[in-house]
């Protein structure tokens, strides 16, 4: 199953885990599995119209899904899905 790297911003909703292994053959499927397992993270990833929030980037390994197939980007068992929100501490 692909791994999902969890940024510090969202570890609160995933019992402080830095990464989780979830099923899914695509980015969309894996994110749905993530939300199913940890519902509180849902509104932080998607807005009320079901669109990925614009301050959230998703990378499959090192490539942004915007350069691939967006949420339909395929995931294999060896892939790592990285969730990258903007943060502004300084």
């Amino acid at each position: 199953m692909p791994f999902v790297r969890v940024p510090a911003l969202f570890r609160y909703y995933l019992n402080q885990q830095t990464q989780v292994s979830l099923p899914g053959a695509s980015v969309q499927e894996t994110l749905q599995a993530l939300i199913a397992a940890y519902p509180a993270i849902g509104p932080h990833l998607f807005d009320s119209q079901g669109r990925l929030r614009r301050h959230i980037n998703l990378f499959v390994n090192s490539e942004n899904i915007r350069s691939l197939n967006e949420l339909e980007t395929a995931l294999s068992a060896e892939d790592v899905l990285k969730i990258l929100p903007s943060v502004t501490g300084g």
């Binding site: 830095t18 519902p39 990378f59 990258l84 943060v87």
Partner: protein
């Protein structure tokens, strides 16, 4: 090009011994300039290392004063400069480290009214900001002026760093076209940060700035460094120019600086603010009087459980802000309630959630439990 003096040759001997730097490289640094936007967690290590390296002219922008909560991470300041203007505090430390460089200070907010003028005279810009409006302002300023911007940002244990130069690669907006909705991403004042984290990211930013000024090595342009201090992982992801970028793309429609606080929906600083309306607020003194009356209101503490170890109000119900929306059914909407957090920012957001759910008898404790500690119960610590 001003050559090095004999004293400078001695001071920078460890640089001169490196083939990629040498005499010519050190002279480049002496004749170079860097603008450090923010003299806080990131700005501290960045400015210290650029000063130590002999960057000839360093500009410091900050409107704030040194307070004790800064000293856990803002290492350019110290107890001796508490209450001083941050740029003056930083300048004194940097000049002590390296009297041979020139420090220019801008003791004012970095805004759309002054950013282009301030930044125009520097070779490289360093993003040491702590809020979204100033971050987007710094990016757009760099793009419009055609200057490289060394980016860094932090939260709790995570850090990000990159080099943005829109002349040949992506800018910040290519990665983050829009800021998060207000309240969705906490600042360090709200969420906390490991003190040493900006030391790591800031040092990386200083490294990138020096590579730009020296013209050596492979920079982070086109890559984003993701640092996780908890598992000590350094990861890199690819960054590409967004062909639809509104500020650096071929059809860019942003040709001048905008109102960044309006764009982001939050102020251009990371101080905690209470955004609730005056009639929704209760001062600590008012709450103290109210608690002595019959039928006292429910106290709802929306902080994280570990914060209760620092200070708490007896009898308060703890329901963290992040769980509030999902647990509203646990609350009696007909009951009078006073919601509070550390300083009033999170509780103001909690108030909005409760009001949206039909709770009508809710007020916000202005200034949070910190205000209670200052005005009512000094036995409680302020944090």
């Amino acid at each position: 090009m001003t050559p090095l003096t004999k004293d400078e040759i001695l001071r920078y001997s460890r640089h001169l011994l490196i083939p990629e730097v040498g005499l010519s490289g050190q002279e480049k640094l002496k004749n170079a300039s860097a603008l450090v936007i923010g003299t806080g967690g990131l700005g501290s290590p960045v400015s210290l290392y650029l000063a130590a390296a002999g960057v000839g002219r360093i500009g410091l922008v900050d409107y704030d004063v040194v307070d004790s909560t800064n000293l856990q991470r803002q290492i350019v300041h110290g107890s001796a400069t508490l209450g001083q203007r941050k740029v003056d505090s930083a300048k004194a430390r940097l000049q002590d480290l390296n009297p041979g460089i020139h420090i220019e200070t801008y003791d004012l907010p970095f805004t759309a009214a002054n950013a282009l003028q301030i930044a125009a005279d520097y070779d490289v810009l360093i993003d040491g900001t702590d809020n979204f409006p100033t971050r987007y302002l710094s990016n757009d300023t760099a793009v419009l002026l055609g200057k490289p911007l060394v980016y860094g940002s932090i939260f709790r244990f995570d850090g990000q760093a990159s080099l943005f130069d829109a002349r040949s690669g992506p800018c910040y907006r290519c990665l983050f076209p829009e800021p998060p909705p207000p309240g969705l991403v906490p600042t360090c004042a709200e969420g906390g940060v490991l003190g040493v984290l900006p030391g790591v990211i800031g040092s990386i930013q200083a490294t990138e700035a020096l590579k730009v000024l020296l013209g050596i090595g492979e920079t982070l342009q086109g890559r984003l460094l993701l640092y996780n201090a908890l598992d000590m992982s350094f990861d890199f992801v690819s960054l590409r120019k967004n062909p639809k970028c509104r500020v650096c793309g071929p059809q860019a429609d942003i040709k001048e600086l905008i109102d960044y606080e309006a764009f982001c929906g939050v102020p251009g600083h990371d101080h905690e603010i209470d955004s609730s309306a005056a009639e929704e607020n209760l001062s600590a003194r008012q709450l103290a009087r109210r608690l002595q009356e019959s039928a006292a209101p429910l106290l709802l503490d929306v902080r994280e459980p570990h914060e209760l170890e620092i200070s708490h109000l007896p009898g308060a119900l703890n329901l963290p802000l992040g769980q509030l929306a999902a647990r509203l059914s646990e609350l009696d909407s007909a009951r009078e309630m006073v919601v509070f957090c550390k300083a009033g920012t999170r509780s103001a957001r909690a108030l909005e959630i409760l009001k949206s759910a039909g709770f009508r008898r809710v007020k916000n404790l202005q200034g949070g439990i910190n205000a209670w500690a200052r005005e009512i119960d000094p036995s409680l610590p302020v944090y």
